[in-house]
Symmetry: C2
Subunit: 589 residues, 2 copies
């Protein structure tokens, strides 16, 4: 038998037709001498009915069917009785009257039922990932993922991009995140590294004159995992020559517009809003602000710097800031205890405490209200646009701590108070990034994006590296970073200056990146690019909150594959061939 239709695609249009289906038993009900079986395939579910008047043999087989059996069914599509129609199901107006059925394969009782609202733990679902992937919800996510990559490929192809594959077995470069290493058998004692991104190769393709490159590229980072990180992830990776930042942003806006239209059926407006990094940090306390709601940060340092409340005055005096967010109309909702809880939350982000004021008919209310009566109180109220019933929350600390803690509070309150319109897709470019970030622990500068980013001012790179801006841009959607890119350095002298600023010796720069700097000397065009996190795009467009739901076979937070049980110990013979030896006990699980 050969399938004529997917189960989930049958509608009134097929009434009267004979169809052949292949799928899984979702549910069986025995009712008044008939048997009803919901059959599921990747397109959805359809109800089939076994009637002894149609086929006694089929009914007898139906009696043996259990959940998740694989069946082939032949029958006629008929209209359901009016009162049994199910308007919530695409196939709900019809059913299939079975004339023939065949058990293709049997099934044990699965460890959890194949339904969207399963309450089984994620560990079990990952161990039996092949059953988890049967859930219609996940099937939908992977259809969407496939649709997104299709749209992206077609768009980039139309724009003249060539798809080029770059190596997975590459050279280890300690700058950046931790590499996964691969021991070499032929060159014993030496190692390949899995790429953190195709960065250097895509730049070399520009040197080669490929002009426009793209790849849906697998990347690897051996980092301690967080909920939204995976050891391997997928990037929509592109690089182009002779294009300005304007050209690159405009083209990527059209790409996103097309993805949103084709995949979600949503029209989004272009051009996207743009925020310089400094402004994003200042107004939202975040380099990836969720702009679907207000509650922006207000700098009140100038107002409070001379106040008698020493915490505020002292913060300003020692070079820090005092900022507030106005939680509109929330004074009543938040008890002192609630605000204490917010204070604890702020402490996670480095704040030492959380000062607050409630706006009343008669000035402010709260433990520090006494410091803010009269003129200074009025000035504060005006600056914060305070109205009766508002709650002011303050950050007073170093600039970065104020941004982090108030930025995090703003997001939490936005969610808690349901201020976010979930139907919005707020795309936003964050531009004018700093070129470097200073790491206090290591006492050195690191590249904020990567060491190949073009500085906005090459002279300044030599004289005042700490304040140089990067020709870099990030794309943010609803508070998530979708990806980022930059114009790249394409002159050897500038790249050398960059490495110098990062503390490389001439020798270490040459050893790690000599081939790139050599390449720059043979006629390199100006170029730039961008890379988007595909997994995260899928997650956001699918409305999921779990990155693992977007990856067919994901790993846990400890980088394990619970299904295949990787990583695992290997034969000594294998290690001997590689010229390596395990010196640790494999017992840390």
């Amino acid at each position: 038998m050969q399938r004529t239709h997917y189960c989930g695609n049958l509608t009134e249009q097929q009434i009267g037709q004979e169809v052949t289906l292949q799928g899984w038993v979702q549910k069986r009900r025995d009712l008044g001498g008939l048997i009803f079986i919901d059959v599921r395939d990747r397109a959805g579910i359809v109800q089939t009915v076994f009637n002894p008047d149609i086929s006694k043999e089929a009914l007898e087989i139906a009696e043996t069917l259990r959940n998740e059996y694989v069946v082939e069914i032949k029958g006629h599509v008929i209209e359901r009785a009016e009162k049994t129609k199910n308007p919530n199901l695409k196939t709900g107006a019809i059913e299939v009257q079975v004339s023939d059925v065949k058990v293709v394969n049997e099934a044990k009782n699965p460890p959890f039922t194949i339904e969207d609202n399963t309450d089984v733990g994620e560990e079990t679902r990952l161990k039996y990932r092949y059953l988890d992937l049967r859930r219609p919800e996940l099937a939908r996510v992977f259809k969407m993922r496939s649709d997104i990559t299709k749209t992206v490929r077609n768009f980039l192809d139309d724009e003249g991009f060539l798809e080029v594959e770059t190596p997975i077995l590459t050279k280890s470069t300690p700058e950046g995140a931790r590499d996964y290493l691969v021991p070499s058998r032929v060159h014993e004692g030496e190692f390949y590294a899995l790429p953190q991104s195709p960065q250097l190769f895509k730049q070399l393709l520009m040197v080669s004159g490929f002009d426009r490159y793209y790849q849906i590229a697998r990347c690897f980072r051996d980092e301690d995992l967080r909920a939204d990180r995976q050891p391997e992830f997928t990037q929509i990776d592109m690089e182009m020559s002779f294009m300005s930042i304007e050209d690159i942003l405009e083209m990527n806006e059209r790409l996103m517009k097309k993805v949103m239209k084709d995949v979600k059926g949503v029209d989004i407006e272009t051009p996207f809003k743009r925020l310089p990094y400094d402004e994003a940090m200042s107004r939202y306390g975040s380099d990836k602000p969720d702009t679907r709601f207000g509650m922006e940060l207000t700098d009140v340092s100038e107002i409070v710097k001379d106040s008698s409340f020493k915490v505020f005055a002292g913060a300003v005096e020692s070079g820090g800031q005092v900022k507030l967010i106005n939680v509109k109309g929330a004074a009543e909702k938040y008890s002192r205890k609630d605000i204490d809880a917010l204070g604890e939350y702020a402490k996670v982000y480095g704040a030492k405490g959380l000062a607050w004021l409630k706006v009343t008919e008669d000035g402010f209310n709260g433990p520090i209200a006494k410091f803010f009566d009269g003129e200074i109180g009025e000035a504060l109220k005006t600056a914060g646009e305070g109205e009766v019933g508002d709650l002011f929350l303050f950050g007073a600390d170093k600039k970065s701590v104020v941004a982090d803690s108030l930025g995090a509070l703003r997001l939490k309150l936005g969610k808690d108070l349901d201020l976010i319109d979930q139907s919005l897709y707020n795309f936003l470019w964050v531009t004018d990034w700093p070129l470097f970030e200073y790491d206090e622990e290591d006492g050195r500068y690191y590249a904020a994006h990567h060491p190949f980013t073009m500085p906005a001012d090459v002279e300044q790179l030599k004289t005042h590296p700490e304040s140089v801006k990067a020709q870099a841009y990030d794309l943010v959607l609803n508070g998530y970073e979708l990806g980022g890119g930059s114009l790249r350095i394409y002159q050897r002298e500038v790249q050398e200056e960059m490495f110098k600023a990062l503390g490389f010796t001439e020798e270490s720069a040459r050893e790690q990146f000599g081939f790139l700097m050599d390449a720059f000397e043979y006629g390199t065009p100006p170029h730039g690019g961008i890379a988007f996190g595909l997994d995260r795009i899928v997650m956001l467009l699918a409305g999921s909150t779990n990155l693992r739901d977007t990856i067919a076979f994901p790993k846990t937070a400890s980088a394990s594959d619970l299904l295949t049980e990787a990583p695992s110990s290997v034969d000594d013979a294998q290690l001997k061939e590689l010229g390596i030896k395990v010196v640790a006990e494999p017992a840390k699980k």
Copy 2:
């Protein structure tokens, strides 16, 4: 300035237009006060002319230009004088009269000139791969590669296939080729493996009901490299449920037909010819025969088994074979010395020598002619369809040696004698493969394809494993294997029988593949698939003979990347974190 056209796309259609070009200086000629510069970009080359009457400034800049400088040029497209038109160049009827030129980046003199017919060694070209990739010939190959994947993706998408990514960090399974290993930092002493193919994951996707899966998948094998092998390679990988072999072959014929039409503009006939494995070996001495020419192998064992030539009689007596190929009309061309050289060639493939006969007016000629006069000689001549002037070459040995040596000789002679019509694309399915191959060295059976291949007869698997056929198929083009696949085992009992036949203990089978056998118990549909080697397809369609030409950044035969110098030694700190130690000296290069 923004590019208006690619250099290589300018034709008479743009005459009179002002254009802006961005590209590389291919060649400069100073001639009668004018300067001619050929400018190259990824689309091709166009001639530009600098005339002091148009712009003195531009001419002055042109005087400074050297090969591989990056330039931006503005000018008008004009028709060339009739006698200076170059009909061999797409842009040969026009030139660009330059009004403005800008040096975007300078270039050192490259270590080799950027031309298709470069005679520099491959080592230098790989070290400067970014320059090598500028050669129009390679640019063309990568355009074709991108076009092939585009066609494949669109075809499979139309057929309802979902693109799904499977993990690169997976579990090591010693069965099969050697794995690349990746030490785990979190689970010290344990290792991931890079996948040799997505085989198990794509089967699990079928268990999940994905129904049709594809992926352009990176695969890895740590094997000793041959000219046509790379440590990482790319597969067009697919798997489908509920399809018969006929369905799968028919769909893939349509896929290949479309690729050939879209990429090469060639119409190929479907259905493709099919040859059972045994017949391919018997007629061509090869499991991937080049059927563009004849010279088939003829079995003459029955004729010669009683002959007085002991080598032939003995070969048959001890269970072997005697076969011949008839090199038509070649008796004159091949001297005794030439034939000795062919004998040496046959020895590489295991033959102990090469017996031969030339057909003359008076029977045979040659050292063994005396054994084959009279009736037996007539019978031999008839069997080999010998005519005067033909050369018979014989193999007399074990069946496999006869096949290998005569098969190789046939191919060599086909090339040497120019018997192959290079315009043909002979697609061919080789079917009915043996399920197992016996390895004399190891004294055990190995899976001819892989251990997940469905046997043609499950009962026979239990009783006579050595003679079971596999439900497997390979696609061959002009003597190259493009790929292969099979129906898969989808029942636990059959998979267990398979592992047993391969000499697995119950425990080792469970340890390595337990998750797959478990999965088979939860409702697994019948399924099968196929995988094609993308690199090889590109090589054949591009008319190249070097697999490295199809890979942007390939590795050498010793698995080195000469450009980035991978693999390389790494910091001790990195190894310490991984809990491993190098026990070999890194000095074997």
